[in-house]
């Protein structure tokens, strides 16, 4: 079975400060891991993905995440927050096999203040 836990339901940062959104996963198999972002009234957009290649993954808009197998974590970071980063972020796990489902975390709401 697979599951994902997003450790913070809400994170607040000031513009220009670092962002850290935490995600732990559980998987009996070699996982694929993703971070998606959802802006209000918009569709889900992929930020980045890990699929058993490099453990440090760079995504769009300056975001990156590091896969740490020993800690079963896949935390999302950004060095400097921008107002436009305010959104809902979802950590997603999937088995590294064709035809498997994407299991979503409950989401983390990121607020950015000026």
């Amino acid at each position: 079975a697979q599951s994902v836990t997003q450790l913070d339901s809400h994170v607040s940062v000031s513009e220009g400060t670092p962002v850290l959104l935490r995600c732990n996963y559980s998987s009996s198999y070699s996982p694929s891991l993703f971070w998606y972002v959802q802006h209000p009234n918009k569709g889900l957009q992929l930020l980045l993905k890990y699929t058993s290649a490099a453990t440090l993954v760079k995504g769009i808009n300056g975001f990156e995440a590091e896969f740490k197998k020993s800690e079963t974590s896949f935390h999302l970071t950004k060095p400097s927050a921008h107002m436009s980063d305010a959104a809902e972020y979802f950590c997603v796990v999937s088995r590294n096999q064709a035809g498997t489902a994407l299991i979503f975390g409950k989401g983390t709401t990121l607020s950015v203040s000026s």
């Binding site: 918009k42 058993s52 979802f90 064709a98 489902a101």
Partner: protein, 113 residues
């Protein structure tokens, strides 16, 4: 390339009525998912198709929900009869294969009154 298309974008119905949602995935994507996203929660998988076969429908309330994927392309999700708790955004996504991401449509926002 064209994205995942869903229609309608919004639907308001009364409880006990029926409703259907349509999804056209990205061409060539074998895997198609339907998710339910209740306000303030993460998307929950309802059903997954691989081509035109069902892979996982364990969380689909089969007494009221049904889905099909004709010829392994378009898909429809139906609710009959609807309940108040079915109010949610219904997301369709498609995926090419392993090690790839899923692409999501804009969703259908259903309000049951």
């Amino acid at each position: 390339e064209a994205g995942v298309a869903q229609s309608p974008r919004y639907k308001i119905i009364e409880k006990r009525q029926s409703v259907a949602f349509w999804c056209n995935p990205i061409s060539g994507h074998a895997t198609l998912y339907w998710y339910q996203q209740i306000l303030g929660q993460g998307p929950k998988l309802l059903i997954q198709f691989q081509n035109n076969g069902v892979v996982d429908d364990s969380q689909l309330p089969k007494d009221r929900f049904s889905a099909e994927r004709l010829k392994g392309v378009d898909s429809t999700l139906k609710i009959q009869p609807a309940k108040l708790e079915d109010s949610a955004v219904y997301l369709c996504a498609s995926r090419q294969g392993r090690n790839t991401e899923a692409f999501f449509g804009q969703g259908t926002r259903l309000t049951v009154v």
